[in-house]
């Protein structure tokens, strides 16, 4: 038990990396995902098709591959050719990947809003942006909460992929200690860290759902 407690310090250091990646990815990919969703349903076919292709690419290849690509291959891509340090590279890959998933969630949410809501807004004189901001998006939020809850919990665990860039997140820290001390206890502690994070997320999303349920019909 004392041994397990002694692991909390170094594991908390790993948790900082995991949590930073988690939050920065969310902050970037949610707005990007929303923009992609709007582009995807836009009447401008070229844009919509391009976004469709992007989503296919991001969902159709492993996140691990995208991570490796951004870190190792991006520097050699003509025109773009930038070399990113490990953590920023991870953020770029995660944000681009998660934006694609969020885009599909948001698109479904937006399209589930009844056509009558658009007509009701239109006859009151609201323009497209006003309708989106005041009428459609607030209703979308409620509907996307359950899939968003799923996706963010997946993100917590996906962060462990950054071990391939030798970043010391919770899992890689645990693995290091396992190899050093010849005991599997660190894995158990890592599991508890992940469970605690998902517990907070679950609780947060349940509260949000409750808040938005007040106007349920």
């Amino acid at each position: 038990m004392d041994y397990a407690l002694s692991l909390i310090g170094p594991m908390a250091e790993g948790a900082k990396v995991t949590l930073s990646l988690f939050f920065i990815t969310l902050v970037l990919s949610v707005p990007l995902g929303l923009a992609l969703a709007l582009a995807r349903i836009s009447k401008w076919r070229t844009l919509s098709t391009a976004v469709n292709g992007y989503i296919w690419l991001m969902r159709g290849t492993p996140l691990m591959l995208q991570l490796l690509f951004v870190y190792f291959a991006l520097p050699f891509v003509p025109v773009i050719g930038i070399r990113l340090p490990d953590f920023p590279a991870a953020i770029v890959a995660f944000a681009l990947n998660y934006a694609a998933y969020f885009a599909e969630i948001f698109r479904a949410g937006i399209q589930s809003v009844d056509r009558g809501q658009y007509e009701g807004s239109k006859v009151l004189g609201l323009n497209y942006l006003q309708t989106l901001r005041r009428i459609v998006l607030p209703q979308m939020v409620r509907r996307v909460l359950p899939p968003m809850s799923n996706e963010t919990i997946t993100l917590v665990k996906d962060t462990s992929l950054i071990y391939v860039l030798a970043l010391n997140d919770i899992l890689r820290t645990a693995r290091g200690i396992v190899q050093r001390d010849f005991t599997t206890t660190p894995f158990l502690v890592a599991a508890i860290f992940y469970l605690a994070m998902t517990l907070v997320l679950t609780w947060f999303f349940q509260r949000m759902e409750k808040r938005y349920a007040k106007f349920d019909e």
């Binding site: 009844d114 009558g116 809501q117 007509e119 009701g120 239109k122 006859v123 009151l124 004189g125 609201l126 323009n127 006003q130 005041r134 009428i135 607030p138 209703q139 409620r142 938005y212 007040k214 106007f215 349920d216 019909e217």
Partner: protein, 270 residues
Amino acid sequence: MPNSMNRHTTVPPGADPREIMIAADGITKSFGKNLVLNGVSLTLRKGEVVAIIGPSGSGKSTFLRCLNHLEIIDGGSITVQGEPMVTATADGGSHYASDAEVRRICRKMGMVFQSFNLFPHMTVLENIIEAPITVKRLPRKVAVAKADELLEKVGLLAKRDNYPGRLSGGQKQRVAIARALAMEPAIMLFDEPTSALDPELTVEVLRTMRQLAEEHMTMLVVTHEMGFAREVAHRVIFMDDGRIVESADSADFFRAPKHERTRAFLGQML
């Protein structure tokens, strides 16, 4: 003006019977290969209450939706209070004014839907003040005062902080009417406002509409309520198969319908 008074005996006194609020001419509209409107024309004057009746699929709702740009017409013209929203072109088509212009003209018309289309994430009060604040840029205080006044009028002041999900159908529709009125339209369009309601709820909505009519609101009402058409409307239009079959003062319309098709329809309804 004894002449025009004679022609429109039922136009309420005080209203200028000459001012034309909506002039729609030769409207045609197809959905795919299906011709829904086949040259429909209508002149709606200030203070007039006109009921449009007809079997389902006759095009009456589509016609109403064309008037405020919820549907795009294929041919014909629409002018609202003298301002052309869409004009007929030489080749039999039609040409719309700019988006901003169309939106501005459409703001002269309020609309009430069969399915209410209230915003479920907003309280009754928020539903009503949304457009005045967002579109007209009214200060919140002014918008709220106006909304309270309208809620009082439709008898729902007590429900102002409820969400629409908590209201009955009749209450929802009265909120929808208050919401439309908050934008101070010159014309109110009603698209089967009571078709989704139980008979007793229909009564309360019709009462509100009758009250509006008594205040000389210009109203165009697509309805299945023959009682309303007979008692409140000044003029009744019968549509069938994308055309206006008959249009007459409501008393004449119900007493002596001229067309066989109208008589058959009324026979079924009454």
